[in-house]
C-alpha cells in the first residue's frame, strides 16, 4: 500500500522555485545593489524586480493569458531582459527570435510557436512589417521606445507608474517558460521547451561550476536570444547578486574600453571573439587587470591562444563551456586547472548531468577513444520540442537525450567533440569528421572559407567533397588543395573533388547550410 499525500496551497507556495521567485529572492537580499546597466540606465535589484512586475501586469492587462507565447525579436537591451523576466512572472512563454532572421524564418518561428504577441527593436520593425500579414500575432509592441508607434512599449511600462506588485497568477515549477528555437541547419528549427524547473536546475549547476559569485562584474555582449549568454551567465549572476553591464554586440574596442572603465571581472564569448580582442591594438593599452573569469564555448580554443591568454592575462582563468539549447544549455565544463593537460577537451559533465558516449543508433557505451554520439540525462533538459512529438520521441529514445554531437572520451572521462553527426561523411564504411578535413584545408594559404560534405557515391557510399571560397587575389587550384590535404590527412580523408564558389550558403545567423550544399552537389 502506497500512501498518497496532497500538497496544500501553503506548501505549494512555500516550495515554489520559479524564475520569478529567484528574482524576488535576489531583490530581498540586496535591494539596492546594481543588477543591470544598459547605456546610462542602471537597475538595482529592487528596481528590476518591481519593473518586471509592472511589465508583467501591463502584458496581462492587454489580454495576454497564462501560457500565451510572446516573441522577443531584439538585440540586447534592458527592455529585452525585462520582457523575459516579466514573461516568467506572468506565466507567459518567452520565444526569443534571433534578430538575424527575416522573412520565412521569422514567420516560421512566430507561427510555429503560435505567438500571440511580438515585441521588437525599432531597428527591426521593417522586418516585421514585411511579414506582418502572414503572422498570427495579435499584440505588437516595442522593446525600445519609438518603434511600432501604436503598440505597447516595454521600457515605458517598466519605467511607468503601473501596478508593481507581482501578478496573481498560479505558477508551478513545471510550467513552460521559454521556447528556444534551434538554429536548424538540417531541417526546420525545433522549439526546445524549457520549464522553470529545467532552467533553475541549470542555473544552480552554473553557479556551482563556473565560479560565479555576487562579487562579479560581468560584461554581457553576446546575444541574449542565445541560451549561453542568457542562461549560463546573465541569469545565474542575477541569482547571486552580481552586476551585469549589457551591450548589444561584442565590438572589440568597446569591450576592451568597458573592461577598463567598469572594472569587469568576467566575460564570455566564443574563441573567435577572444582572438579578435587579442589582435586589437587596444588590448595592451587598456587596463584589463580586473578580468579574472574568461569563459568560452561553441568551439575549442586553439592551443596557442590558450597560452597567449595565460601570458597576457596572467590573472585570468579559462572555462570551456559545452552544451546545447536542449540542455539549457550547459552540460560539461573544462575548468581552468584542466586546460594545461587537455586544451582541446570540453571537459567533464556537471554535477547534475549524466553523459555517455554511445555507438550511434544504439545505447552501447563506446570504449575510451572510440567515437560515438553524446547522450545526456539531466534535470536541465527540455521537456519536449514544441508541437513535434515525433522529434521529441526520437531525441529522447531509450530515456537519454541524443545530442547529435559526435565525440569520444579519454580514459579519465574527458570529452572531445569531433563533429555534428549529420556532418560526418561515411566513405567506404569509414566515418570521417568533416571538421578534420576542413581544418586541414584551412591550413592552405589560398583558402578563405571551406565546407566539407559527403555526396552519394555508388562505390564509396559517400565521397568527400570540399566546397571552397578562395582569398582575394589567390588562384583556385584544386590539385594544389588536394595535394595539401594529402600531406596533412590520412588517404581516406582526402577530398575526391574540390568545387570553388563565390560564397557559401548560410542562414541569417551566419550558420553554414551544409544541407543546401549536399543537395546541390549530389549527382
Amino acid at each position: 500500500m502506497t500512501k498518497q499525500y496532497d500538497l496544500s496551497d501553503s506548501v505549494q507556495v512555500a516550495i515554489r522555485n520559479t524564475i520569478g521567485d529567484a528574482l524576488r529572492r535576489s531583490a530581498g537580499r540586496q535591494p539596492a545593489a546594481p543588477a543591470l546597466q544598459f547605456e546610462d540606465r542602471i537597475w538595482s535589484y529592487q528596481e528590476l524586480d518591481l519593473a518586471a512586475n509592472r511589465v508583467a501586469n501591463g502584458l496581462l492587462a492587454r489580454g495576454l493569458q497564462k501560457g500565451d507565447r510572446v516573441a522577443a525579436y531584439g538585440k540586447n537591451s534592458d527592455a529585452y531582459v525585462l520582457l523575459w523576466l516579466a514573461c516568467a512572472r506572468a506565466g507567459l512563454i518567452h520565444v526569443p527570435v534571433n534578430y538575424g532572421l527575416v522573412q520565412r524564418e521569422l514567420t516560421y518561428i512566430c507561427n510555429q510557436s503560435g505567438a500571440r504577441a511580438l515585441f521588437c527593436d525599432d531597428s527591426l520593425a521593417a522586418n516585421v512589417e514585411a511579414v506582418r500579414n502572414d503572422l498570427g500575432v495579435e499584440l505588437y509592441g516595442s522593446l525600445r521606445r519609438g518603434a511600432l508607434a501604436e503598440g505597447v512599449d516595454i521600457l515605458a511600462l517598466a519605467q511607468g507608474r503601473g501596478e508593481a506588485t507581482a501578478p496573481d497568477i498560479a505558477l508551478s515549477d513545471d510550467d513552460v517558460v521559454q521556447i528556444l528555437y534551434t538554429s536548424g541547419t538540417t531541417s526546420d528549427p525545433k522549439g526546445a521547451m524549457h520549464t522553470h524547473r529545467s532552467l533553475m536546475a541549470e542555473y544552480q549547476s552554473c553557479l556551482l561550476h563556473l565560479d560565479i559569485s555576487g562579487k562579479d562584474r560581468g560584461l554581457a555582449a553576446l546575444p541574449l536570444y542565445h541560451s549561453a549568454q542568457m542562461h549560463v551567465f546573465l541569469m545565474p549572476s542575477l541569482l547571486c547578486g552580481a552586476f551585469n553591464y549589457l551591450i548589444d554586440a561584442p565590438v572589440p574596442d568597446q569591450v576592451l574600453a568597458l573592461i577598463e572603465e567598469q572594472k569587469i571581472t568576467s566575460f564570455f564569448s566564443p574563441p573567435t571573439v577572444w582572438i579578435g580582442l587579442l589582435r586589437h591594438p587596444d588590448f595592451d593599452r587598456r587596463d584589463l587587470s580586473t578580468l579574472e573569469n574568461l569563459y568560452y564555448g561553441a568551439s575549442i580554443m586553439p592551443e596557442p591562444i590558450v597560452h597567449e591568454l595565460a601570458e597576457r592575462l596572467p590573472q585570468g582563468r579559462l572555462f570551456n563551456c559545452y552544451g546545447q539549447s536542449e540542455i539549457a544549455p550547459m552540460a560539461t565544463v573544462l575548468e581552468p586547472h584542466e586546460h594545461a593537460d587537455r586544451p582541446s577537451s570540453c571537459g567533464r559533465p556537471l554535477t547534475s548531468v549524466e553523459t555517455r558516449v554511445v555507438k550511434p543508433g544504439t545505447l552501447e557505451d563506446c570504449a575510451p577513444g572510440e567515437q560515438g554520439e553524446i547522450v545526456h540525462r539531466s534535470p536541465h533538459l527540455m521537456v519536449a520540442y514544441w508541437d513535434k512529438p515525433e522529434e521529441t520521441e526520437e531525441a529522447f529514445k531509450g530515456g537519454w537525450f541524443h545530442s547529435g554531437d559526435l565525440a569520444y572520451q579519454d580514459e579519465q572521462g574527458y570529452l572531445y567533440i569531433v563533429d555534428r553527426i549529420k556532418d560526418v561523411v561515411n566513405t567506404g564504411g569509414v566515418l570521417v569528421a568533416s571538421r578534420d578535413v576542413e581544418e586541414a584545408l584551412y591550413g592552405h594559404e589560398s583558402v578563405a572559407e571551406v565546407a566539407v560534405i559527403g555526396v552519394p557515391h555508388e562505390k564509396w557510399i559517400e565521397s568527400i567533397v570540399a566546397v571552397v571560397v578562395v582569398k582575394e587575389g589567390k588562384a583556385a587550384d584544386a590539385a594544389a588543395l588536394i595535394d595539401h590535404a594529402r600531406q596533412h590527412l590520412a588517404p581516406f580523408k582526402v577530398p575526391k573533388a574540390v568545387h570553388f564558389v563565390e560564397a557559401l550558403p548560410k542562414n541569417t545567423a551566419g550558420k553554414l547550410l551544409k544541407r543546401t550544399l549536399r543537395e546541390q552537389y549530389a549527382r
Partner: protein
C-alpha cells in the same frame, strides 16, 4: 532530480574511486553501486513497493550509507530512526508511517523485542551487525548473497525520499516528508558557497539518522567524494581517522570541536589535511575559533543553520566571516540565506518586521518540506501563508545576516536534539507527587542547553531527583529527561494563569542577548 543520480555518474566517471571507508572495510563506487542495487533487490523481495517506507536503527557505518541509497534505488522512502529514542517512541514512529521493514545493528538488537511488542506495523527485522544473526531476524549478508542487482526504480523530483521524525509541539513526534528535489536542491545550495571540491575525502561523525547526517551524506556523494565513517563521535576515533585517511572536510558542532582541541592526545595526531571545517547547532565563539584556526591554519570554516523541515540548510555563514576581521561582528550570526532560500523575520501576524527587530524567522524555497506525514493541520500551521515557521526568534541586520536570539516554540535544544517541553512535562505530570511543572532550557557548557525542570510538589511531598529521572526514563528517551531540577512553592503566572516561562529562564540566562545555546 534524483538522489541516486551521483551513483550513476560515479559508475561512469570514477568507478574505482573509494566510496566508503569504515573500520577495515573499504569499497569503491563500483562496489557501492552493486551493493545498493542488490540491497534494493532484497528490499523488493521482502515486499517493499514503490513509496513504501523502510527503517534503520543503527550507529553510523558503511552499511548505513548503502541502506539509504538502497531504499531510494528500490523506489522506497527511508525512515532513519532516532538512536536515542526509547522503544515506545521508536514503535510510535514506525507505526505512524507504516514502516514494516527495519534494519538494525548490534548496538540496538537488545531493544528489538520490546519494539516488536509495541509496534503494529513492524513485520521484518533485518540484521546488519558484525556478529551472528540473532534468531527471528534476517541476515542482510545472507539475503544479499543469493540476490542479483536490480535497476534503479527511478523515483525523482517531488516524490518522497524520506520521512524523518522530529519532536512535536503537541507531544507526539511528527514525520517530516522530504522529496528528492528537496534534498537535492538543498544539498547543491549547501556546497555552493564554499571551497568544497569534487572527489574529496570527508569524515562523518554526526549521527546519520539526523537530517544533518543525511544531508552530509548527500552533499559528499553529489561531489563523488569518499565517505570516511566512524560509528559515533569520539575524539580519538575522529582524530585517527582524519590522520589515516587524510580527511579534507568534516562537520563538528562547536562542543565537539572544543572536545577535540582539548583532548590530551590532540598533539599526537597530524590533522593538517583538513581544508573545510563545517559546524552548526550553535555559533562558534571567538576563543574557540582562534584555537581552531591555529590548529588548522589551512582550513576554511563554514556554519550551516537549518532544521529538518528545511532539508535542512537554510542559512550559511561563509568562510570570510571567520577569517576577515571586518566581519568580526557576524561571527555570532547563523549566516546569510542559502542559495534558493528566502528568509524573513516576521511578527505574530506574519508581517515582516524592520531590520534589526526581533521576530520569528520564516523561510521559503525549494528546500521546504512537503509536509508532516498524516498531519495536515500541523503542516498548515507550520506553513501558514506559504512560509515555513522555524520557531526560532531572531533578527536580520542591514547586511542581511540572520541572528538567532531565542526560541518561540517551547523547546530545548540539547546536544543537537530538539526536546519539546510539553513532552517532558507530560511525562512529569504522570507522577502523582508532582502538582505543577515547567520544563525550560538552561545554558550548559557541554550540551549547549540542558533540560531543566521546575517543579511544584503535590501537597508538599518530598520527591527525589533520582525517582523523577527513573520515572521519566520509562516514558521518554534519556536525552529528554531533566538533568537538573528546581523545587518551588509556586510558579510565576500570567493573569490568565499561564506559567511565565520567560521569568523562569531569566534566572538562568541573565542578561545575555541570546537565550539559546
Amino acid at each position: 532530480m534524483y538522489l541516486t543520480q551521483p551513483l550513476h555518474k560515479a559508475l561512469r566517471e570514477c568507478p574505482e574511486r573509494e566510496a566508503l571507508v569504515f573500520a577495515d572495510r573499504r569499497s569503491t563506487y563500483r562496489d557501492l553501486v552493486r551493493q545498493v542495487a542488490t540491497l534494493a533487490s532484497v528490499l523488493k523481495d521482502l515486499g517493499l513497493e514503490d513509496g513504501d517506507r523502510a527503517g534503520i536503527l543503527a550507529l553510523n557505518s558503511d552499511h548505513y550509507v548503502t541502506f539509504v541509497f538502497g531504499v531510494l534505488w528500490a523506489g522506497g522512502v527511508f525512515n532513519t530512526v532516532n538512536i536515542r529514542w526509547s522503544p515506545v517512541e521508536i514503535a510510535y514512529s514506525l507505526d505512524d508511517c507504516d514502516t514494516r521493514i527495519l534494519f538494525v545493528d548490534d548496538e540496538f538488537v537488545p531493544l528489538i523485542d520490546e519494539v516488536r511488542a509495541r509496534s503494529k506495523s513492524l513485520e521484518t527485522v533485518v540484521y546488519v551487525g558484525e556478529k551472528t544473526c540473532p534468531e527471528g531476524m534476517l541476515s542482510l549478508a545472507g539475503l544479499m548473497a543469493g540476490t542479483d542487482p536490480v535497476d534503479d526504480a527511478g523515483r525523482s523530483g517531488d516524490q518522497l525520499a524520506c520521512i524523518l521524525y522530529t519532536g512535536g509541539t503537541t507531544g507526539a513526534p511528527k514525520g517530516v516528508m522530504l522529496s528528492h528535489a528537496n534534498l537535492y536542491t538543498c544539498s547543491i545550495g549547501a556546497v555552493m558557497p564554499a571551497c568544497r571540491g569534487d572527489g574529496v575525502v570527508g569524515l562523518h561523525s554526526a549521527p546519520f539518522f539526523h537530517v544533518a547526517g543525511v544531508g552530509l551524506i548527500l552533499q559528499l556523494t553529489l561531489r563523488l567524494g569518499t565517505h570516511v565513517i566512524v560509528p559515533r563521535f569520539e575524539e580519538v576515533a575522529v582524530m585517527s581517522a582524519i590522520q589515516r585517511e587524510r580527511v579534507v572536510e568534516t562537520f563538528l558542532v562547536p562542543t565537539m570541536m572544543r572536545a577535540v582541541l582539548a583532548h590530551p592526545r590532540f598533539p599526537e595526531f597530524d590533522l593538517s589535511s583538513l581544508r573545510c571545517m563545517m559546524y552548526g547547532a550553535s555559533p562558534i565563539d571567538s576563543t574557540l575559533l582562534k584555537k581552531a584556526m591555529t590548529a588548522w591554519p589551512e582550513a576554511s570554516f563554514l556554519q550551516l543553520y537549518g532544521m529538518t523541515e528545511l532539508s535542512p540548510v537554510v542559512c550559511i555563514l561563509p568562510d570570510y566571516c571567520h577569517s576577515d576581521a571586518a566581519y568580526a561582528d557576524k561571527l555570532m550570526a547563523a549566516g546569510l540565506p542559502a542559495h534558493m532560500a528566502e528568509v524573513r523575520v516576521v511578527d505574530g501576524e506574519d508581517n515582516e518586521v524592520p531590520r534589526g527587530q526581533v521576530g520569528e524567522i520564516v523561510a521559503r524555497g525549494p528546500m521546504v518540506m512537503r509536509g508532516y506525514w498524516n498531519k495536515p493541520e500541523q503542516t498548515e500551521e507550520a506553513l501558514r501563508r506559504g512560509w515555513m515557521h522555524t520557531g526560532d526568534a531572531g533578527y536580520m541586520d542591514d547586511a542581511g545576516y540572520v541572528f538567532l536570539v531565542d526560541r518561540i516554540k517551547d523547546m530545548v535544544v540539547t546536544g543537537g536534539e530538539n526536546v519539546y517541553s510539553v513532552e517532558v512535562e507530560d511525562a512529569l505530570l504522570r507522577m502523582p507527587a508532582i502538582a505543577q511543572c515547567a520544563v525550560i532550557g538552561v545554558p550548559d557548557e557541554k550540551w549547549g542547553e540542558r533540560v531543566h525542570a521546575v517543579i511544584v510538589p503535590a501537597g508538599g511531598a518530598e520527591i527525589s531527583e533520582a525517582d523523577i529521572v527513573a520515572h521519566c526514563k520509562t516514558l521518554i528517551a534519556n536525552y529528554k529527561c531533566p538533568r537538573s531540577f528546581e523545587f518551588v512553592d509556586q510558579m510565576p503566572l500570567s493573569g490568565a494563569g499561564k506559567i511565565l516561562k520567560y521569568k523562569l529562564k531569566e534566572a538562568h540566562w541573565g542578561d545575555r542577548g541570546r537565550r539559546i545555546g
